[in-house]
Amino acid sequence: MSAVIEAVNLTHLYGEKTLFETAAIKNIDLAVENGEFLGIIGHTGSGKSTLIQHFNGLLKPTTGKILLDGKDIAESKESIRAARFKVGLCFQYPEYQLFEETVYKDIAFGPKNMGLDDDETDRRVRRAARFVGLSDSYLKKSPFDLSGGEKRRAAIAGVIAMEPEALILDEPAAGLDPRGRDMILSFIKEYRQETGRTVILVSHSMDDIAKLATKVLVMNKGEVAMIGTVDEIFSRSEELFKMGLNVPQVTKIFLGLKEKGVPVRTDIYTNEQGCRELLRVFGRSVKE
């Protein structure tokens, strides 16, 4: 595996040389491997958003650099622009960026900016719309006639349509009802399975991260607090609690059971694992 995105000693200061100078992120070294599903968790204001805005060149590092496929993205104007298409960044509440007359045109905005011809644009728009579960009848509608969840999906499709090497989603399910959430998370999973491309998901939901991610990055006060597999991270529950973070709900249940003296394992991070573990411990006694 090779790294798609690398951060080398990355620091970003806000309000440089003023009284309000604060380091949003400091001394970050990080490598995102090709095809990886990286989950980023961290407190509000821990620097998650600042970090991901460096990945596509929206923010310039104060010191340090970002490498895309081994090349510094700040090299030239062209390389910064290329980074925008290589790394698709979808912000929080992306539905507020919709502006075109039709959903189709809005999804086509990214591919058009890339300078693709009409046929390729059309193929990408339809493919992206299919990923997010918007049927052809939606494409002709005005984006402002859609429901909240549909708008969100149309906006995410606008980023997917650029077919970026790495897709970054900042809280894609925030503020949606449970069905909307499930829908978004399941199409992200399908998208990754089908394309095999890198996905980075910023989320406050430990459950979602545990379910989807192959690697987890924990940010705290602008620094990388931990990085590792789901098991490695969520087994350190004490440290996570101290940072004001959490473990998946199912893990909490098993931690509680253990505390009450039930002989269960606590390295349970998804509902499926939990189900199996419960059957393992109680299965026999239920039968008897």
Binding site: F91, Y96, M162
Partner: protein
């Protein structure tokens, strides 16, 4: 970038100037401006410069910020200077070539005018540096309240001003967010000719307008939910009271007025 635009350039602080009643502050600032225009020679103007400098130090406004507030009027300053040097007649000739003559009186006048404008801007900047925009509009409402007699809805106007000011930072944030989102989709805002750039603004302006209208509706509903019915019979959370500092400030300004009149009579005027 966009954040550098300073509107409502309040600098938080605890100085006597910050604590003054904003109504008195506005009136005193007006008086200050009038007094500056009354100055006729360098003695009286020097006194005003001294006073402005003292106030700046008292308010704890850094020199850098003061200079920053002068930057927008730089062109006017240079223009005033040049015009006055070349177009003032009379006095001793210092330089003469072709149709242009420079006299000592011209130079004096130019310097005088520039110092006067600098003083003016610095003095009025002090008002905005030490008063929050909301306090300012509140005070303006109070000062203009006699206009109610003429059926002018002073409260509504003041409320509109407050709301407009309040939403400037919010909208700037919104613009930045939308710009970033569109840039992330490859929108090119920085290159191309005028028409291309104007067209590039559409993906930013449409979402901005939509969200501005949404915010306006939400705000109106929120205000109605709290039974806002306009200014009638409305009391205030922050009562304005004239305190000792305000009386001292008014007295100092009055004394300045007296001193300037005295200096004007006692010394020869620079300008007519």
């Amino acid at each position: 970038m966009i954040r550098d635009i300073t509107i409502g350039q309040y600098l938080p602080g605890k100085s006597a100037l910050h604590k003054m009643d904003p109504r008195v502050k506005i009136i005193v600032t007006f008086a200050f401006i009038i007094v500056i225009f009354m100055c006729k020679n360098f003695w009286s103007l020097g006194l005003m410069v001294l006073f402005t400098a003292l106030c700046t130090i008292l308010a704890g406004v850094p020199m850098r910020m003061m200079l920053k507030s002068l930057r927008p009027v730089m062109v006017i300053l240079v223009f005033t200077g040049i015009l006055n040097i070349f177009y003032t007649s009379g006095g001793n000739k210092l330089l003469e070539f072709w149709k242009i003559t420079v006299t000592d009186k011209g130079i004096y006048t130019a310097v005088f005018m520039i110092v006067r404008i600098v003083c003016l801007i610095a003095g009025s900047s002090l008002l905005t540096y030490t008063t929050t925009p909301t306090m300012l509009t509140d005070a303006i409402e109070r000062i203009l309240s006699p206009l109610k007699v003429f059926k002018i809805q002073v409260h509504t106007l003041a409320m509109m001003m407050t709301l407009a000011l309040r939403f400037i930072p919010t909208l700037i944030e919104e613009i930045e967010r939308i710009m970033n989102a569109q840039k992330a989709r490859g929108a090119d805002l920085e290159s191309g000719g005028f028409i291309k750039r104007a067209k590039a603004l559409i993906p930013i302006l449409i979402p901005l307008f939509i969200s501005a209208f949404r915010r306006a509706y939400e705000l109106a509903f929120a205000m109605e939910c709290r039974c806002y019915r306009g200014g009638e019979g409305r009391t205030r959370m922050k009562q304005m009271k004239v305190k000792a500092t305000d009386i001292v400030a008014s007295a100092v300004t009055a004394a300045l007025l007296g001193a300037v009149i005295f200096l004007n009579i006692y010394f020869k005027p620079v300008i007519g």
